[in-house]
Amino acid sequence: MIKTSSKVLVKGNEAIAQAALNAGCKCYFGYPITPQSEIGEFMSRKMPELGRTFVPAESELASISMVIGAGTTGTKAMTSSSSCGIALMQEALSAMVCAEVPGVIISVMRGGPGLGNIAPAQGDYFQAVKGGGNGDYKVVVLAPATVQEAVNLTYRAFHLSMKYRTPVILLADGILGQMMEPVEFGEYPYEEIDTSAWALSGAKNRKPRFLVSLHMQEGEMEAITNRIFEKHDLIAKNETTYEAYQTEDADLIITAFGTVARVAKAAVKKAREKGMKAGLFRPVTLVPFPDEALHNAAKSAKMVLDIEMNKGQMLVDVRSAVFGAAPVEFYGRPAGGLITLEDIYGQIEKRLG
């Protein structure tokens, strides 16, 4: 990391790791996988220096299970991995939601399916947003588009995780993990959350507590599931964020998340210079998805064009949010097929030119 006054030139992966340290992450558990290995490398140096815990786990299943262990004690803990590694954590994520255990999971996507490749891609939108664990559950998912936003959203991931006692996934792609960009870290901007009412802290002078994901009594699991979903309604009400750029008078609204959105923004600027009314709607929280804001934006548009580095995943949520307010089309490339400014501008020109 290279410092100049308040700005620091830093790789996305290292920025996320540094932000986790600033956020008070006390435990990191991880197993290396490209394109996010710098997170673990950074943590292996810094955590012991700060007297915090770094464990190179024997597998991704072990990593996330250790996060659960730390989380049950109200300790801020994190793991990071990529695509096929995150796939191995799905069962644990479902259990964390059920037992209401906090934890932060950094997912830096590579190309898939299968072991795939290590190229930048967004094929794990469904994996993060819909999940592969069992039962009725949701995790909070945040999607940064710049290294600065990766820092801000890492802070926010720890905050939301502790505040709502839920796993939070930060969903980035290989471009964001590998690129350097100047950022300002500042300080962790959130207040510490009191965990004393629920954390497992040793049962001295109080009744024992249980954080479990098995509830066999009649009606118990239904009540818990309803309560967890009420919590998600509250998260949706309080925490939904998005960026709307030039959408007010747009004929064509592009929807995109993560690094594709920054390319789309440049294409929108170029289209505007040529007199074509394009706009960009970028969900920052993928869960909760900004349904209402997107629906309202789409009402005055002639068309919505969803663009992703995959075969059409967020598309499902875009269609559901737009819900007939405008036709929805899709352009995408999977598994390392990069989407350039010229590609997106061409897509706009084809429809508005």
Binding site: I2, L9, G174, M179, E181, R262, T340
Partner: protein, 183 residues
Amino acid sequence: MDTSIIISGYGGQGLLFAGSLLCHAAMIEGKQTTWIPSYGAEMRGGAANCSVHISDDEVSSPIVNMSDVVFALNQPSEDKFEKRVKPGGLFIVNSSMAKIERKRADIEYIFIPMNEIAAQKPEPVFINVMAVGAFIEKTGILKESSVKEALKSMMSGKKAHLLDANLASFDYGAEFIKDFARV
């Protein structure tokens, strides 16, 4: 104004450092900038590379396809990237390790025998920083003082003893361009 730069060579020639040096100097001047390395299988075959943007506006994508400027520090890089210089762009080639050959009429070539120049100097010379010196002298895209300030902050602590040789390497690159212009 947005300038894209690709720096390519063998691992160990310092191409990632040269890219981050430019990026850091751009940050010192308050410009928008990004850097991204090639990683994984793309690095094999002798053309490891990084891409840099130096811009007055937000950088859309750090990925560079067609580049305003390419530094090719060896033969595989010259072979791979000659076609990826934008028309009207600049192709800086280390002619100590690549052929002097002009396949295109629509780009400007600068051939610098970097390893030969380095071998003639009394102190150790870093060809990556020499290439940066030549590029800055040629284009003026960043101030010499910003690059040297960046070098100073990157060569602190354990690397402080390498600062003078780095500053000298920059100057050798700049001098080559000045002499070249006089010919």
